[in-house]
Amino acid sequence: MSSPASQRPSSSARRLPIRLDAWSGLTLLIALIVALPVIVVLAHIVMPAGGVWAHLVDTVLGRYLLNTLFLVVTVGVGTFVIGTGTAWLVVMCRFPGRKLFEWALLLPLAVPTYVIAYAYTDFLQYAGPVQSALREAFGWERGDYFFPDIRSLGGAATLITLVLYPYVYMLARATFLEQSVCVLDVGRTLGRGPWRLFTGIAIPLARPAIVGGVSLALMETLNEFGAVQYFGVDTFTTGIYRTWFGMGEQVAAAQLAACLLAFVIVFVLLERWSRGKRRYFHTTGRYQQLPEFRLTGMRALAATLACLAPVLVGFLIPSGLLGYLSVRGGDSLFGARFLEFAGNSLVLAALAAVVAVGLALVLSYGARLNPGPVTRTASWVAAMGYAVPGSVVAVGILIPFAWLDDQINGFLKAHYGVIAGLIFSGSAFILIYAYVVRFLAVSFNALEASLGKVTPSMDAAARTLGQTAGGTLRRVHTPLMRGSLLAAGILVFVDVMKELPATIILRPFDFDTLAVRAHNLAADERRARASTASLTIVAVGIIPVILLSLAMRGSRPGSRARIGRKDKDL
């Protein structure tokens, strides 16, 4: 297949508001395909929902809103503080254990929210070992002492923060590593200390990446289902699910989903608007060794502890608890069946990662080539699926494809007397489609941020030297972005491993994954048995996460001999 070439220089693109060359066309097409399920769901808005809304508003809607807001605010602040703080420490400071924390801080990423919820519930609940031991040791009775309830809104917010901060950490760290030392040097020359370099220069400069990370965490929070449902916390997502499946009100449920989506759109718009016309290119290629702050004494200890805490609470303790549980009374299907579950999970995750990264590359490059309302809207729309709960995406996909299969089978039956089976809706195709819809934003955000840092002069130079748009992408951008491409793929991979609601609904017949197995057992109140599958999800998820950290380590430009980029203004 040939690369679509765009012959006109980009200056003419600015004059025409809408220009449809091959790249924009491709961008639009991808956006449409990815947006299809969301559009199907949103189409329900115009349908009458009957008296359900009055009932919802009177009773539960306020709680859904407040709980969801609380989660968004606490998780947003929590992931920002932990993620950015630890990233700065490991990039800019020297303290004992830094090399270890560099990658260990990513580990909680391998723990799905529902798994950390399963792990901590038994441990911390009233009847669990911690509280029982306290009561025994001090002779307390119920009501004599205060102990935070794990199965609460606060508990959910804490656990969600603990497994989502790596999104912020990863993107913030990548940006701190890629930052040019010159800006920091200027800051130092002007008398800024380490703390003010961090808050006054590094954070504002890293803003696109940090915001990207926090929004990933927030969208993940908005459609978090496993943990909040398990804790009985009512949020928009559990509300949608309940209205849809419990009350059988499909239309009202889809309308709730639309509200959730509106939430996200407003948030994204606010961020874009406040960023205004600022752009964040790196204009210099001077990448000497970053100046590191050597910490000693109490400060070194504090830094070590600050990095240890999230790893300990977000990964080591839950894994240990799960390990203990599965030794005590693990899954009776452990063995061949288990390998099958794990194999299914792995294959699905790998396929989805490849597709999502490929599409994200086209999208982000298309938007770069033709900056304009069309491509911008297209890329937004395409990334929207991330905010839609997995179960809603699943249904949005099922409606058109089940119809299509039905048509095909009806046709075949009428003319040939055979039935082909569920070609689309009963195969892994639909599952991968759903994953791409859900997680395209993950890969897109990573690639857009990375592409945004390559100065447009690079494109101009490449094109002047006779490269086509496709050639520029292949020969210039892809090598520059290799680290980010890998990171994007691994993020999607890990997300797919953990994904639950869509997988439950869409998986082919007689086809189970680790996440489904863990969920089925936990839903049946067999936490000990569920621990084996949960632990395996974590174990399988660690491998790509470690790969990711290794990839990031070598990704600092200038860390090896590299052709310096031209110092050039914009």
């Binding site: 009233y126 009847a127 490849v354 609904i505 000990a528």
Partner: protein, 342 residues
Amino acid sequence: MTQPSRLALPLAALLAGAAFATQASADAVNVYSARHYDSDQALYDAFTEATGIEVNVLEGGSDQLIQRIKREGQASPADVMLTVDAGRLWRAEQDGIFQGVESEVLAERLPASMRHPEGKWFGFSQRVRAIFYDPQDVSADEIASYEDLADPRFEGQVCIRSSNNIYNQSLLASMIAHHGEEGAEEWAQGVVDNMARDPEGGDTDQILGVASGECDLAVANHYYYVRLLTSDNEADREAAERVQILFPNQDGRGAHVNVGGAGVVQGAPNPENAVRFLEFLSSDEAQAIFASGNHEFPVVDGVEVDAVLADWGDFKRDDLNVSVLGENNPQAVRIFDRVGWR
């Protein structure tokens, strides 16, 4: 290294995806099951051994399975749907998922109350929504019925799980049937006022709540209690021994029972195998595995009952037609919302 073509990637994914597409093979029965107990595998193996018919399974939540069968339409591989709640059986039947089955074996083996009049579904096990209490704080003559749970003297003492749970929805649906909507709402309000804590966790957690002293009374399905009693974990067994089980409303209508059941799916590709599967479920051998595997009550007389259940002896069961539980379900959900039962 050459960049793989952009179109090749999705194409490869599509092909790989199609490779997963499952074909219903001729000598098999495809079961959509909302049960996921360890003993189920033994059950399927026993069926294959007895008949040579292979069993393929899709496990999932009842509602999702119903939705799925509807969407799959004429091409659905589903032959049999197994679920664990009468409300769900009713809903599936209302959605036209089941086809009527005439089987002499089933008619003979199962009591009439366990059969849909047109053979749309059959019940194969029974579970009781029981009350649990701490014998140190509550004496056995203080509480006798579900209605007592709403009595103000138990303020701050009741543990019961979230209203999102179908077992609670079915319980309230039965209250609506017996007391009318208003009476049921009053009862639900009373229970909410008596809650020891906001509803959290599953049925097991309610029983553990009584064991650890967090509450004096709890509501849960009986088999969760038996699971604790027979657990490998010593702490679970100790906890269960601190708790007493009570079958409510023995002087009146009897304890609220729910059924686990199955039906043959409309348009099943292997209808004969499906019927054979259901008939097999009513055999002594299968009943023993099906019911006892989860410590439930078998529905065929003379089948050996789980040892713990046998110890409890006989008790009175509410003979309310189970389809009422389904009919009243939407009303029940709204009542829960109105009284603020989370």
